[in-house]
C-alpha cells in the first residue's frame, strides 16, 4: 500500500494549475525537480516544417520532331517547396504547404515550344501510420500549371499523389507510389521502389523520381550516383500555337489551348552535405540524355491528337544542380 501514496500525492499536485504552468515551461534543470512532482504531458500539437530550394541548368540539346532537327534548347529549372506538418494525433500528420517550380527554356528562333513552364500550387495532405510497419501519404496539389500567359481556369490542375512505405526493417523498406493527373498523357502512373542499406555505408535507394546508389563518406557527407526525373503537366494558353510556329511567321494553331507533358531525365553523381543537423546542401552534375515535350489535347476530352518534341537518346547535354533542404 505504501507505494500508492506518492501516486496520490502526485495526482493532487498536478491538479494545481499553477504547478502545471511552471513545469510545462520545458527546461529541466536539476533544481526544478522534486521527488513528488512530474512534468505534465504537453498538450500542444507538434508541428514540423520542411523546405527545399533547388536550381539547375541543363545544356543545349537538339530538339527533334520525328526525325527533323529543329534546334537546340537548354533549361534552367528552379524549385521551391515548403510544408508544415502538425501531428494531430499519434500516427496522423496533416501536411499543408506550397510548391513552385519553373522550367525556363532557352529556345532556338521560331521554336514551337513554350519559353516557360511553371507551376504554383498548394499542398494538402496527410501522413498516417497503418499498424506498426506502414506509413501512407496522400496529397493533392491544387494550383496553376501553365506557361503563365493569359492565366485562366484552364491552367488549374489538381494532381493526386498516393504513396506508401512498408518498413520491413531498419535496413530495408519497400515503397510504392501512384500519381493521378487527369490532364497528363499518362493519367495514372504507379511506380514501386525500395531502399536497401546493404552494407554499413552503402544504401541502394531505388525510389523514383530520384533513384540513387549512396555511399556515406562520414556522418555529414553522402556521395551518390543516380538519376533524377523532372516531370510535369502544364496547360499552354489559347493563342500559344498562333505565336509558336515552325519558324518565324508560321503558326501551329492546333497547339492552342493544349496540354504539354514535360520530362527531363538526368544521370549523374553528387554529394549531400549536412552542414548543420537541420540543413543539407546537395550538389550534383552529370548528363541529361532525354528531354521531351509532349503536346496533346486535354485528356479529360480523350482527344488523341499528340505531338512530341524530344532529343535523340545519347545526344543530350550536361547538367549541374545545387539545392538546400531543411527540416525543423
Amino acid at each position: 500500500m505504501n507505494s500508492k501514496l506518492p501516486t496520490l500525492v502526485l495526482a493532487t499536485l498536478l491538479a494545481a494549475p499553477g504547478l502545471r504552468a511552471d513545469t510545462a515551461a520545458g527546461t529541466d534543470p536539476k533544481d526544478e525537480l522534486t521527488p513528488t512532482i512530474a512534468a505534465p504531458q504537453d498538450n500542444g500539437i507538434p508541428v514540423s516544417q520542411e523546405f527545399t530550394m533547388e536550381g539547375s541548368w541543363s545544356g543545349r540539346a537538339q530538339a527533334k520532331q520525328g526525325s527533323a532537327d529543329l534546334g537546340t534548347v537548354s533549361n534552367v529549372n528552379t524549385h521551391f517547396n515548403y510544408v508544415a506538418s502538425p501531428q494531430i494525433q499519434d500516427g496522423i500528420l496533416l501536411r499543408f504547404g506550397v510548391d513552385a517550380e519553373r522550367d525556363s527554356f532557352s529556345l532556338f528562333p521560331g521554336a514551337p515550344l513554350p519559353n516557360t513552364l511553371q507551376s504554383v500550387n498548394a499542398i494538402i495532405g496527410t501522413d498516417l501510420t497503418l499498424g506498426d510497419k506502414i506509413i501512407m501519404r496522400a496529397e493533392i496539389h491544387p494550383g496553376i500549371y501553365s506557361d503563365f500567359v493569359n492565366v485562366g481556369w484552364n491552367d488549374f490542375d489538381c494532381p493526386l499523389q498516393l504513396g506508401g512505405t512498408y518498413l520491413y526493417s531498419k535496413d530495408f523498406q519497400i515503397i510504392f507510389g501512384v500519381q493521378v493527373d487527369l490532364k497528363s498523357d499518362f493519367p495514372v502512373i504507379g511506380l514501386p521502389g525500395f531502399r536497401w542499406q546493404f552494407a554499413d555505408k552503402w544504401v541502394l535507394s531505388a525510389i523514383p523520381p530520384k533513384p540513387q546508389l549512396q555511399y556515406e563518406l562520414n556522418n555529414t557527407t553522402t556521395l551518390y550516383f543516380g538519376a533524377d526525373i523532372l516531370n510535369g503537366t502544364y496547360h499552354v494558353n489559347n493563342q500559344f500555337g498562333d505565336y509558336h510556329g515552325h519558324g518565324p511567321s508560321t503558326t501551329n494553331a492546333q497547339f492552342n489551348n493544349n496540354i504539354v507533358d514535360f520530362t527531363e531525365v538526368r544521370i549523374g553523381a553528387g554529394c549531400l552535405w549536412k552542414f548543420t543537423p537541420n540543413l543539407s546542401l546537395d550538389v550534383s552534375a552529370g548528363y541529361m540524355p532525354y528531354r521531351a515535350w509532349s503536346f496533346h489535347q486535354d485528356k479529360i476530352d480523350f482527344d488523341t491528337h499528340e505531338t512530341t518534341f524530344k532529343n535523340d537518346l545519347g545526344s543530350g547535354a550536361p547538367y549541374a544542380e545545387a539545392g538546400i533542404s531543411g527540416s525543423f
Partner: protein, 339 residues
C-alpha cells in the same frame, strides 16, 4: 564479483508475491490501459507494442511493450541483470560486462579484447584522430584532455581504447553513485543525467508508477540532498552498435518488489557515441496461463539521442516504428534466454 546480494533480496521479496489478477488496474499507468489483452496470445509469443507520443523533450523517443515469459517474476528479474546480450549476434552488442559492486580499473580489462569489426574500428579511429576541441566521441572537456594526454604518449587506436576509457568510465560510475552530478561532466552542454530525468518525466503516469523506486536511485536523487539509498542490483559496461559505429557506455540496474510486482529500472547514464542516455523500465507480475505460472512483463524503452532532435514529422514517426522493431528484437532475444 557480481553484486548478488540485491538480487537475492529481490528474489526473497518476490517469493511472497500473491498471484495477481486485475490486469486493467495493474496496467492503468501504461499505454495498454483499457486495451483487450489476450494473455493466451502473449503466452504464445505475441509482443504487444505501442509507440510513445512525441515528447516535449526534443531528444527523447520511447516505446512500450507487453509480453509474457515462461518463468517466475523473480527469475525474470534476475535474468534482466545476468543475461549477456552480446551472445545474441542480431543485437549487435559487441561487449557486455557486469561490474563489481565497487568497480575498479580491473573491471574494464575486457576492453582490450573486443571484436575487431568495422563498427568497433570507429572507436579506434576516433581516438587516433582525436581533437580535444572537436571530439568525435561524447566526452566532457576534462575527459577530452585526458584522452589528448594519452594520445600524446603514443599508441594505436586499439591500445588507446583500452587505456583511456577505463578511467573515464570509472569516473562516470563514481559520480553517478555519489548522486552528485557535476556540470563539468557536460557533453557539449548536455548532462546525460538531466536527459535521464527528462525521459522519466515525459510520462507522468509511468513516472508516478516508478517514483518510489526512482527516488531511491541516484538518477532521481540528483534533485535532492538526500536519496540514492539503494545499491544497484547490477552495474555493467557495454559496447554496442549505433548506425554502424560502436558506442561504449555504462549503466546500472535497480530493482525492487512493490505490492504484487517487481519493478526494474535500467539506466545507461553514459554513452560515448550516438546516444546520450537510455532507460529501460520493466514491471513484472505473476500470471497463470493455461495452468502455468508465468510472468507478465511490461517494458518501456526511453532513449535520448542527439539525432532524434533533428527528426521531424514523418521521419520521426518512422523512427518510432523502427524502434518498435528493434525493441521486439531485444524482447525476443531475452525470451530465448528462458528456452
Amino acid at each position: 564479483m557480481k553484486s548478488t546480494l540485491p538480487i537475492l533480496l529481490v528474489a526473497a521479496l518476490a517469493a511472497a508475491l500473491p498471484l495477481r489478477a486485475d490486469l486493467n488496474s495493474d496496467l492503468a499507468f501504461s499505454a495498454f490501459a483499457g486495451q483487450n489483452i489476450d494473455l493466451n496470445a502473449l503466452a504464445g509469443g505475441q509482443v504487444m507494442q505501442a509507440r510513445g507520443p512525441i515528447m516535449t523533450f526534443a531528444r527523447g523517443i520511447t516505446s512500450q511493450s507487453l509480453f509474457i515469459i515462461n518463468a517466475a517474476p523473480a527469475d525474470v528479474a534476475k535474468k534482466l541483470c545476468t543475461w549477456n546480450p552480446a551472445s545474441h549476434s542480431e543485437l549487435k552488442v559487441w561487449l557486455h560486462k557486469d561490474l563489481s559492486a565497487q568497480p575498479t580499473l580491473n573491471d574494464f580489462a575486457g576492453l582490450g579484447s573486443v571484436p575487431d569489426n568495422s563498427s568497433v574500428q570507429f572507436q579506434y579511429k576516433a581516438l587516433e584522430d582525436f581533437d580535444p576541441e572537436k571530439p568525435s566521441v561524447q566526452v566532457s572537456k576534462e575527459e577530452a584532455q585526458l584522452i589528448a594526454g594519452a594520445k600524446a604518449q603514443g599508441g594505436d587506436g586499439k591500445a588507446l581504447f583500452a587505456k583511456v576509457w577505463p578511467p573515464i568510465l570509472l569516473g562516470r560510475i563514481q559520480s553517478f553513485l555519489s548522486g552528485k552530478g557535476s556540470a563539468s561532466e557536460d557533453i557539449g552542454g548536455v548532462h546525460p543525467l538531466n536527459d535521464v530525468k527528462s525521459l522519466l518525466h515525459s510520462d507522468p503516469k509511468v513516472y508516478g508508477e516508478y517514483q518510489k523506486l526512482l527516488a531511491q536511485t541516484p538518477a532521481k536523487a540528483l534533485a535532492t540532498s538526500s536519496g540514492g539509498h539503494m545499491a544497484p542490483t547490477n552495474m555493467y559496461c557495454d559496447l554496442f552498435d549505433v548506425e554502424g559505429s560502436a558506442a561504449l557506455g555504462t549503466g546500472a540496474i535497480y530493482q525492487a518488489a512493490f505490492a504484487n510486482s517487481i519493478q526494474s529500472f535500467d539506466v545507461e547514464y553514459f554513452t560515448n557515441y550516438g546516444v546520450y542516455a537510455t532507460v529501460e523500465l520493466e514491471q513484472m507480475w505473476p500470471v497463470t496461463v493455461g495452468g502455468r505460472n508465468e510472468t507478465l512483463v511490461w517494458r518501456e524503452d526511453l532513449v535520448s539521442a542527439p539525432n532524434v532532435e533533428y527528426l521531424h514529422g514523418t521521419e520521426r514517426m518512422a523512427s518510432s516504428m523502427i524502434m518498435l522493431q528493434e525493441t521486439k528484437q531485444g524482447v525476443d532475444a531475452f525470451r530465448n534466454e528462458f528456452k
